[in-house]
């Protein structure tokens, strides 16, 4: 009998504790996603002044194609944006420029052959161009993809392939590219 009384007491304590703690939780704040990139924008300008903007958008997962003429120079300026809040578009490129010593833009091409070099007004870390602004020159006509990388902490900044460059990808998106004669 005594045991049951004790049990009853235990139950009471449990219920009391449950009541004390059964508060409702405040609504959590939404996370303001930092360093989030939703768009990769390439502004391409030919030497004759004609312009083309290609915007790879995360929500649509694609972009228009890049159209170039073979054997002519184009200046390409890349920017990384966070447009998830349309009222406050963030330009992530500024962060990349600020941390130029840790970043490298890299372009890989499949199906086409394009030479990429640092533009005269490119962001530099020492003598190395980060390729925020680059000069493109395609060899011959064809179509394929341009894989656009933003590499964080590469182990070899001067490597010619993505594999050798090391580091890890902050951005890797495929943009179709067409080259005409």
């Amino acid at each position: 009998m005594k045991n049951f009384q004790i049990l009853f007491k235990i139950k009471l304590v449990v219920v009391a504790i449950a009541l004390i703690f059964s508060c409702s939780k405040d609504d959590p704040d939404a996370v303001n996603q930092q360093e989030f990139i939703s768009n990769v924008v390439l502004k391409i300008q030919s030497s004759d002044g004609s312009k083309q903007t290609v915007d790879w958008d995360l929500s649509e997962q694609n972009s228009q194609a890049i159209n170039l003429k073979a054997n002519s120079d184009y200046t390409v300026e890349i920017s990384f944006l966070n447009t998830s809040d349309p009222s406050a578009i963030e330009n992530i490129t500024l962060e990349v420029i600020e941390e130029a010593e840790e970043h490298q833009v890299f372009y890989g091409f499949a199906g086409v052959s394009v030479n990429v070099s640092s533009a005269s007004d490119d962001t530099k870390d020492g003598s190395r161009g980060v390729l925020i602004k680059s000069v493109w020159n395609a060899d011959s006509a064809g179509s394929g993809i341009a894989r656009v990388y933003l590499i964080h902490q590469p182990t070899d900044f001067n490597a010619t392939t993505r594999e050798e460059m090391g580091g890890f990808n902050d951005v890797a998106v495929d943009i179709p590219i067409t080259i005409t004669d």
Partner: protein
């Protein structure tokens, strides 16, 4: 009435024998007691070497051997928890020999002895217990590593510093950890989350396979690991020990120190400190850059134990910071592909003590209070309250100077209240019943600037259990247990609107919706689970040597927060992980059998098990998802039915007083029944062999330990394809994350010298070489196997002082 007659008869016989110069009616008797407090040691075996004479001490620690001829003999006194004592005697007349043994009582054993048979343990399940001192002396750095000497237990690792226990191929929420009578509550769901426990503040570690210990929950189909402190001695004494370990691999070490004061009135107080510091560890051929760790822990325990009533108060504080291999920080599957195709980590730098991102920080604080009181017929009333705070932060390499801002920042607070009534006896029946209440609050800090992997939630648990056993004779015991738990989870989580709709939650769980904010939706999932668990089993002595135990366990487990809500990128395997709200509770049936035989110098045990789990929750790759960082495989939590079976074999053989050989073999078979394929991450066939040599004279011994792991041939295919640009062309490549690495072996050598001080306390110096052959291997159960080989050769010096 007969006794004087009998004595007369003896006297007569002895007189008779004396005539012939050969007296064979001598007897020896005496008491075996505990060196520390003089309490009797029950069940110690007293043997006369080279004869068939032996005796076992009774409940008063008393033994007697009769009918011995005169002559010179060697007595050995053995007890499972004491070092064996030998004494040479020259027996000419009947004698009394009393012995004091250094008794490392396992606390729970003692409860069994002092408070009758119902106990925290289930007797129908084979269990293994280890002394923490022993664990330390094997150079184990984490509690979990110590388990590698228990067959059936394995270790799931993330590099060197992070290890979590697996039993019969199950881990995470399927393995429970109990410290000082309370379940540990940290973020145990993550495969890369090590239990936040410093094992140095405990004295014994027990492993119970299967969810048999219903007192602590019925939701751990893998098993339970129980860490406990010894029961205190009613004696004025001050003692302690210190342990210093220095290691070549990692160029670091560990120091741990413990001091305990006990009083004759039952009051005790002890304090314990542990500090560890390691730099980068190294594999046989290279430095594992960014793998150092630092840890500082302390605990204070005090209380009063007056046999009939007592209380205790514990506080512990655990702090760890572990670096994670730099090369394991990858951006997408292309990076993963390159890592897999490289023989070495992609980043190898020179040795440093620095701990940089990626890294983890864990802080765990526990405070608990227990009270017990014994009533007339040994019925014990206990209650306890426990509060735990777990603060976990994970850091990634980030842009814009945010590396110092954690990417994951979780604060988990758990209140736990328990009450029980044990030792309720009716004839040969013995009962225990108890209740358990738990309240948990998880807070996921939004200032990380990264989408929460685990949301904010409140969790309520109420449990009740009823255990009983029936024992009429010493050779047979039947026991059973029932438990019921009610679990309620009240979460608040943001989903991406697109995900909420894509997964069909919008129609299925529309009542969880709270408000839409931009492209996100705030939801309030409220989930209820009712779990029933049960256990029944027998323990039977078939002969003096052969024991049989058989147990059936039904366990039910509610899905954990990660399985329900996971929502984000898992860096180290480049996977996007999604939980599932529709998961049901997991229901597991497990049958465990254990045969063990002890015959002279040979001991062996064989423990097969078989289990079937319905709605077993697992994660599998389902598709590729395009992100700004490229394509990622999406891993989703899902449920299936699985069949697990296996067996553990342990044996120990003493060739002579000098040589001892131990063997452990363990195998687990796991099959996903609905998808007809093997389960992922199951330990392959593994064995360990231990060979120990103790010289006849001298205070040293040497042990050789050989671990052999076969290659796991049974694994599911989780590979995926992606397009790589190679020499100007897109080439389809397979990312092989499924194929387990080849088998491996490892050789460790331990050399110890025992130093005896005047008060009979043993201090020890040990010199250890781990992975002596510097063999390069990768372990299937180590998540870092994608990036680097396991640890290379390590030399260790240990100084172990008792005072």
């Amino acid at each position: 009435m007969f006794r004087p007659l009998f004595q007369f008869f003896l006297l007569f016989l002895s007189g008779f024998n004396l005539i012939y110069g050969q007296s064979c009616n001598l007897s020896i008797n005496g008491t075996i007691s505990d060196l520390h407090d003089g309490s009797p040691i029950i069940g110690a075996l007293v043997k006369i070497e080279g004869t068939n004479f032996f005796s076992q001490t009774d409940f008063d620690g008393h033994y007697q051997i009769q009918g011995i001829c005169n002559g010179k003999y060697e007595l050995t006194i053995q007890h499972p928890e004491c070092p064996t004592v030998k004494k040479k005697i020259n027996l000419q007349t009947s004698q009394v020999y009393n012995f004091d043994l250094e008794h490392h009582i396992n606390e729970l054993e003692e409860i069994i002895l002092s408070e009758n048979r119902i106990s925290n343990l289930r007797k129908s399940v084979q269990e293994v217990s280890l002394d923490i001192g022993e664990i330390n002396s094997y150079g184990s750095n984490t509690m979990v590593e110590a388990l590698s000497y228990i067959s059936g237990a394995s270790i799931l690792k993330t590099g060197n510093g992070i290890a979590k226990p697996a039993i019969h191929g199950m881990y995470g929420s399927r393995v429970g950890i109990v410290t000082d009578d309370f379940r540990q509550h940290d973020q145990e769901w993550g495969p890369d989350h090590a239990p936040n426990i410093d094992f140095n503040s405990f004295e014994t570690i027990q492993l119970i396979k299967g969810a048999a210990a219903l007192k602590y929950g019925g939701d751990t189909p893998g098993g339970l690991i129980i860490l406990s402190s010894n029961r205190k001695k009613l004696k004025d004494s001050l003692f302690g020990n210190s342990n210093l370990i220095l290691e070549s691999n990692g160029k670091g070490g560990k120091i741990t120190s413990r001091l305990e004061k006990t009083y004759v009135n039952g009051f005790f107080v002890n304090g314990q400190l542990t500090a560890k510091r390691y730099g980068d560890f190294h594999a046989p051929k290279y430095v594992l850059s960014n793998t150092g760790l630092k840890e500082t822990d302390f605990s204070i325990k005090l209380g009063k134990d007056k046999i009939t009533s007592g209380w205790k108060f514990n506080y512990s504080n655990y702090n760890i910071e572990t670096a994670i291999l730099k090369s394991a920080h990858i951006g997408n599957i292309e990076d993963l592909f390159y890592a897999l195709s490289s023989n070495e980590p992609r980043i190898i730098e020179s040795f440093t003590y620095e701990i940089n991102a990626p890294k983890q920080k864990g802080k765990h604080q526990k405070i608990s209070f227990n009270y017990f009181s014994l009533f007339q017929n040994q019925t014990k009333l206990e209650f306890g309250y426990n509060f735990q705070v777990n603060d976990r932060k994970e850091f990634d390499v980030r842009r814009g100077g945010r590396t110092e801002i954690p990417a994951i920042d979780l604060l988990l607070k758990t209140h736990n209240l328990v009450g029980s009534l044990s030792g309720i006896k009716f004839n040969d029946w013995n009962f225990e019943l108890g209740v358990n209440g738990l309240f948990q609050d998880n807070f996921s800090n939004p200032t990380t600037g990264i989408k929460r992997l685990i949301p904010d939630y409140l969790k309520y648990e109420a449990g009740i259990y009823f255990l009983g056993n029936f024992q009429k004779t010493n050779t047979f015991l039947w026991e059973w247990g029932l438990r019921m738990d009610r679990i309620f989870i009240d979460a608040k989580k943001y989903y991406d609107l697109s995900v909420w709709e894509e997964r069909n939650y919008a129609t299925q769980y529309s009542d969880f919706e709270m408000q839409k904010i931009g492209n996100q939706i705030l939801t309030n999932p409220r989930l209820n689970y009712l779990n029933f668990s049960a256990q029944t089993g027998i323990s039977s002595k078939i002969s003096n040597q052969l024991k049989l135990k058989a147990s059936y366990v039904l366990s039910q487990r509610a899905p954990n927060a990660s399985e329900l809500f996971s929502d984000g990128l898992h860096q180290s395997i480049a996977a996007i992980e999604y939980g599932s709200l529709s998961l049901q509770k997991e229901i597991s049936h497990k049958l465990l059998i254990s045969f063990s035989k002890e015959e002279g110098d040979l001991f062996w045990s064989f423990e097969p098990f078989i289990s079937k789990t319905f709605d077993y929750i697992y994660i599998e790759p389902t598709r590729l998802k395009q992100t700004i960082r490229g394509a990622f495989p999406v891993w989703e939590y899902n449920a299936t039915d699985v069949f697990l079976s296996g067996a553990d074999f342990t044996s120990s053989f003493r060739f002579s007083n000098q040589f001892k050989f131990d063997l452990g073999i363990s195998y687990t078979y796991a099959q996903d029944l609905l998808n007809d394929r093997p389960l992922i991450l199951m330990p392959p066939l593994n064995t360990f062999q231990k060979f120990k040599f103790t010289p006849k004279k001298g205070r040293w011994d040497v042990e050789l330990i050989h671990h052999l792991n076969a290659s796991q041939k049974r694994f599911p295919d989780s590979n995926f394809q992606f397009n790589l640009i190679q020499e100007g062309q897109l080439v389809s490549q397979t990312v092989d994350i499924s194929t387990p690495p080849p088998g491996f072996q490892r050789l460790d050598v331990y050399f110890s010298i025992n130093l005896k001080s005047n008060n009979n306390l043993k201090s020890q110096i040990r010199v250890i070489a781990q992975n002596l052959t510097n063999s390069e291997y990768r372990d299937y159960l180590n998540r870092m196997r994608f990036y680097s080989a396991d640890l290379g050769r390590n030399f260790q010096i240990q100084l172990n002082f008792k005072y």
